[in-house]
């Protein structure tokens, strides 16, 4: 009996000692060298970034080819600034505003999605239309214009808005013949606030799009698309015409707001194509401690099409320089005309 126990115990301990080193759950580390950091960043994007397959088809991006091209620019003696420059150039191949490389000296970014296009709004014109006696409800500025059209400006979905705020705004603007929602310059923020505002624009549950996420390291490893519905708010909902003003700076959560608004019956979108940014960003890091942000899970529109490069408006409209010199915002004036016509009908 004693020998049996002793023998069994020995076997158990030997099995444990053998099993554990073999089954260690570890990630192969990269060296903290320019080459190691380059390899680590390329791998993070290769395994986690959610648009590699889509962008191969849409803009001819080949991530393996990118590796070969940028690997040549890496040398063991390069400085941190030089390394960041090369890594930024490599990330810019993705053409994604949600991709950033954070170092103590700089934030690498790709902003061509709005910098290469007309801005289509100015702060001076916005201030002119809002005047000085506009109201502020959390992140929303609003007033009634002279022709009895409501103007609601939401500059950033990073600023919170509550259901009570929205009830008060809708109640105050209830007598207006139409509503202009100006989200030009809104580069996103919290998705909840974007959804909260769009829920005020429908009386019905609407299919607005689909969402996916990666289920593995492969470029095509995605979950089945899940339908996303816009539920009507239980608070005060807008029952008249709405014009949403959009420009190239409308990005991320604002892009989702435009997608949702686009699906609402009484909403017309006016302006330029939105900026896009339909991938929810995740974070990771390099061996040298630099932080990287990248798109991890895509949102699609109701036709299961990508909206990463933006959403076209119902009515294209650009800010006219002659109007600007007269202190007129072309987009707001067009929206006022449209709402008057809608109200007349």
């Amino acid at each position: 009996m004693k020998h049996q126990i002793s023998h069994t115990l020995k076997l158990c301990l030997m099995a444990l000692a053998t099993l554990l080193p073999l089954a260690c759950v570890n990630e192969d580390p990269f060296d903290n060298t320019p080459e190691g950091n380059f390899e680590a960043l390329w791998k993070i994007i290769d395994e986690h970034y959610c648009f590699l397959d889509y962008k191969q088809k849409a803009i001819g991006l080949h991530w393996e080819e990118v590796y070969g091209r940028y690997k040549k620019r890496i040398s063991p003696t390069m400085t941190n600034a030089q390394l960041q420059e090369v890594l930024t150039d490599m990330l810019s191949e993705l053409r994604d505003g949600h991709v950033n490389l954070y170092t103590s000296a700089d934030v690498s970014r790709y902003w061509s999605w709005f910098e290469d296009y007309p801005r289509n709004w100015t702060q001076q014109l916005r201030d002119h239309y809002l005047g000085t006696d506009y109201k502020i409800a959390a992140g929303i500025k609003y007033r009634i214009l002279d022709d009895n059209v409501g103007l609601l400006v939401y500059e950033s979905f990073g600023s919170a808005v509550g259901e009570g705020n929205l009830d008060d705004v809708m109640h105050y603007l209830r007598s207006c013949q139409g509503l202009i929602i100006d989200v030009r310059g809104n580069t996103g923020g919290t998705l909840t606030y974007a959804e909260r505002l769009s829920q005020r624009l429908t009386n019905e549950r609407l299919l607005v799009g689909y969402s996916q996420y990666k289920t593995g390291k492969g470029h095509n490893d995605f979950s089945a698309p899940r339908a996303e519905y816009l539920e009507p708010s239980e608070g005060v909902r807008w029952q008249k015409g709405v014009v949403v003003l959009q420009n190239r700076e409308c990005y991320s959560a604002c892009n989702i707001f435009i997608r949702n608004a686009h699906a609402c019956e009484r909403v017309t979108t006016l302006g330029d194509c939105s900026g896009g940014g339909s991938g929810m960003p995740f974070s990771s890091e390099l061996p040298n401690g630099w932080s990287v942000r990248f798109s991890a899970s895509p949102s699609l529109d109701k036709d299961m099409q990508h909206i990463e490069f933006g959403i076209e408006p119902d009515i294209p409209c650009q800010l006219d320089s002659a109007d600007v010199s007269r202190g007129r915002d072309t987009l707001i004036e067009e929206a006022r005309k449209l709402l008057k016509e809608l109200h007349a009908h």
């Binding site: 759950v25 990630e27 490893d221």
Partner: protein, 270 residues
């Protein structure tokens, strides 16, 4: 084996075991040993959902253990283990930090053998059921800032106790090793956000079956009990190696702590 069946089996086992605890405590407990230990050590975390980098730093640990032998059969022992830990770790470049914490509880029965070749030595083989709740928070991530830990498990354990005398004082050495064999644990999908799981309610195989093939983990503790006047001091070394690989996500929490605390022996008679 489906996850639902595993959860159901674990639930039934936990329920049955709890009933037995009450029964054992009220009617058959003969003597019990309670130890409370506090420890300090180092932890290393890896969670590829948050970052591919391993974070390391100090850890504080609390461990409470109860060991009872049952009156109806002195070779049967009942053990409970409650462990809590909190760590603050950083990456190699010291540009990011992670806060980690967990609480786990295990209980179970064992068969003790005292008739051993060496006087004072006893061996115990045990089966335990338990669970763990915890978190790991990375202070600079955006939409993947934290990972929640929730797990149920059935564990096999071995312990060896050796009592010996030095200058009329009885000291006790103890070594125990715990190996989780079967359980279930929460895990998001590879690129799934918590917003998607909890705000949108998109469950997608977020409970995974755990076994040594995907979650080989090991908890070992070595301790020595030193009587000091009417009290007993316990010094120990705790090595807790937890691992999980599921949904293409890798996790490990390794910790090694030096423990110090006290032991109380309680005898019950009727």
């Amino acid at each position: 084996m489906s996850i639902k069946r595993v959860i159901l089996a674990l639930g039934l086992l936990l329920g049955a075991a709890q009933l037995s605890i009450v029964h054992g405590q009220l009617s058959t407990a003969r003597s019990s040993t309670h130890s409370t230990l506090f420890g300090i050590g180092r932890a290393s975390h890896l969670d590829t959902y948050l970052t591919p980098a391993e974070y390391q730093g100090p850890q504080l640990t609390y461990l409470h253990e109860t060991l009872r032998s049952l009156q109806r059969n002195e070779h049967v022992v009942f053990q409970t283990l409650t462990q809590g830990d909190f760590s603050y770790a950083h990456n190699q470049a010291e540009t990011g930090h992670e806060l980690g914490g967990s609480v786990c509880y295990d209980f179970g029965w064992g068969r003790q053998w005292t008739d051993m070749p060496w006087k004072g030595l006893s061996l115990t083989a045990m089966g335990l059921a338990g669970g763990r709740l915890g978190f790991l928070y990375n202070d600079r991530n955006t939409n993947n800032p934290a990972q929640a830990h929730a797990a149920l498990r059935l564990t096999a354990a071995l312990r060896a106790d050796y009592r010996f005398k030095i200058k009329k004082r009885t000291l006790a050495l103890s070594y125990q090793v715990h190996l989780p064999l079967l359980g279930t644990a929460f895990m998001p999908q590879y690129g799934q956000s918590y917003y998607d799981i909890f705000d949108r309610g998109h469950y997608d195989h977020n409970l995974v079956c755990t076994h040594p093939g995907n979650a080989l983990s090991l908890r070992q503790m070595f301790s020595i009990d030193i009587p000091i006047r009417r009290s007993t001091l316990r010094l120990g070394y705790l090595s807790d190696l937890r691992q999980l690989k599921a949904n293409d996500i890798k996790q490990h929490q390794y910790s090694r702590s030096f423990m110090i605390g006290y032991v109380r022996n309680i005898s019950l008679s009727r």
